[in-house]
């Protein structure tokens, strides 16, 4: 029996599970949420789906519940080792799985946007607000300020208006776009992603009456123990200050790379999307044998492509396990490869249209929210000790050592190291990710031995 552990029950993980189970593999799916669907289809079983994507998501979740193998809801994978071995916790008890293959389908997270006051109550991410809408049918009480760029912010703005919320204004942090890149990518995007393109235009039209301040290059959240005012600067040299109780921030999404780094996978720097991503082959196999990566965790491509890459990882595993022939794998994979190429074409257009803004990180921004270390403190250490990389800063200042394990400061730390030492991001590297990937109590750890 071929056993496969899948971490993540979003579009990629669910699709991989269904494909594997249907062809005779035994699948265990570990996911930290209470219900399958990932962030994009959060609580999809409890709400009215909107549009074809969500209807598809609801069906995928129903199929997964029926035929997706052994699903461990509200469980956490906290270590992945060569073998492969997966350590996990559920209901306060830890145990180890030793499957033949692992698929890491841990998805994306929003890119951290450090600025002065981003840690104040009253500052949240746009994605967080969208999850509140999906899972708790909850919207901001007062007209809300948005600061950001990219499709997710536009989608949320539209959803918020439809849900009866109000938008005070948008601080548009989009950098100047390179029109040549957009124009070059447009024809193919129109051919391969017309419906998505029209959907985007529809979002923009629905927001035409919302006040928007373009070219914003700096934001500050002001207030003593909660957000009271937002000040901003624009590329044109204008400054402004508005009073606000809630600010939602967004600068695109990046792969959640903690699991892939912990598993020892090789990574590369994606210059267009300004993030690290694991190196994978066409089927999603990483540099670590029998560890596959599927979905946005392997590089941001969106939900539809995530489902396709999940199926490809499954086919890759079935082939490696000898459950299907090489020829059969190629036959099953070829339409999926075509779909991936189309998705990549559309993504290239989106990347050109919405490049990451990567606002300059001021010295007074709290770089590491957990350990409360400012960017200025990190820069001083880096100037005094030019040999230090992200790992050295972590040892020296505890940056990235708090409960979030560098999920909110890792990429910013790479930027600071690169800027200060005049290196590329790839040369600067990323924090060393160590177990446990999620906080673990001693009680849980101790339960490991009694379970064996």
């Amino acid at each position: 029996m071929t056993e496969v552990a899948i971490i993540g029950a979003g579009p990629a993980g669910m699709s991989a599970a269904l494909e594997l189970q249907s062809r005779g593999a035994f699948v265990t799916v570990i996911d930290d949420a209470v219900a399958p669907g990932g962030r994009i289809f959060a609580a999809i079983e409890k709400r009215q789906p909107h549009g074809s994507e969500e209807i598809g998501g609801q069906k995928l979740v129903a199929d997964f519940r029926a035929r997706g193998g052994h699903y461990l809801a509200a469980s956490e994978a906290w270590q992945i080792e060569p073998g492969p071995r997966v350590f996990l916790t559920q209901d306060g008890r830890a145990r180890v799985l030793e499957p033949q293959f692992v698929i890491l389908a841990t998805g994306a997270q929003e890119r951290p946007v450090p600025f002065r006051g981003w840690q104040l109550p009253g500052v949240m991410t746009v994605g967080g607000a969208q999850i509140l809408l999906k899972t708790a049918k909850q919207i901001p009480t007062e007209p809300v300020w948005l600061a950001g760029t990219g499709p997710l912010m536009l989608l949320y703005a539209r959803q918020l208006l439809l849900a009866g919320g109000e938008i005070a204004g948008i601080l548009d942090i989009s950098p100047p776009i390179r029109m040549g890149r957009v124009t070059r990518a447009f024809p193919a995007a129109l051919v391969h992603g017309a419906p998505d393109l029209f959907r985007g235009v529809d979002w923009l039209v629905s927001l035409r009456k919302v006040r928007s301040i373009s070219g914003v290059t700096a934001i500050r959240a002001l207030g003593s123990d909660r957000l009271e005012r937002i000040s901003y600067e624009t590329r044109r040299g204008e400054t402004g200050e508005v009073s606000a109780s809630l600010l939602l921030v967004h600068d695109g999404v990046v792969p959640g790379v903690h699991a892939t780094f912990a598993a020892g996978c090789d990574h590369v720097w994606n210059e267009d999307q300004q993030c690290f991503q694991p190196v994978v082959d066409a089927f999603g196999e990483s540099s670590v044998e029998r560890v596959f990566v599927a979905g946005d965790g392997a590089g941001i491509m969106g939900a539809k492509a995530a489902a396709t890459s999940g199926r490809l990882a499954a086919i890759g595993i079935l082939r490696s396990a000898g459950l299907i022939s090489d020829a059969a794998a190629r036959r099953s994979a070829s339409p999926l490869f075509r779909a991936q190429r189309r998705a990549k074409t559309f993504r290239r257009f989106l990347d050109a249209l919405y490049p990451p803004s990567n606002l300059a990180i001021p010295d007074d921004a709290m770089l590491c929210r957990c350990e409360e270390v400012t960017a200025g403190t990190v820069r001083r250490l880096l100037r005094d000790r030019p040999h230090l990389g992200p790992g050295g800063v972590k040892s020296g200042l505890r940056v990235g050592m708090g409960p979030c394990q560098g999920r909110q400061c890792g990429l910013s730390l790479t930027r600071l190291v690169a800027e200060t030492h005049d290196l590329s991001a790839a040369e600067a590297g990323f924090l060393r990710i160590r177990p446990p990937l999620k906080p673990l109590t001693l009680d849980e750890l101790a339960s490991l031995s009694s379970n064996q």
Partner: protein
């Protein structure tokens, strides 16, 4: 800070949770952090380093700002924790004090 959409008001089963000694009603199964974000003072914790006030930030388990103590479990991410009847929630207050914990127990 947040409120329920009017159109969807009260279509879920209501349960009672206790947050720092105050009874609050909530939808069964919604994320506990959602309740914190519509219950004054709209915060989740005071940090262990400086005692600064924080609130839920990412709602997807990657920022750890929404940590609270729920029925004695000390490091619960309230964004991933569904609300259930009778949950006893305590916001984190600064650095943990082992002596205090011993007295409380």
């Amino acid at each position: 800070m947040f409120r329920k959409c009017k159109s969807d008001a009260a279509d879920a089963r209501q349960v009672q949770v206790v947050i720092d000694g105050v009874a609050v009603s909530a939808d069964d199964g919604e994320p506990l952090a959602a309740v914190l974000l519509r219950t004054p003072p709209f915060t989740s914790r005071k940090t262990a380093i400086s005692g600064a006030v924080r609130a839920p930030y990412c709602m997807m388990g990657v920022c750890f700002e929404c940590l609270a103590d729920v029925d004695g479990r000390g490091l619960v991410r309230t964004c991933l924790q569904p609300v259930y009847q009778g949950a006893n929630v305590r916001r984190h207050v600064g650095a943990p004090d082992p002596a205090r914990a011993a007295i409380d127990d």
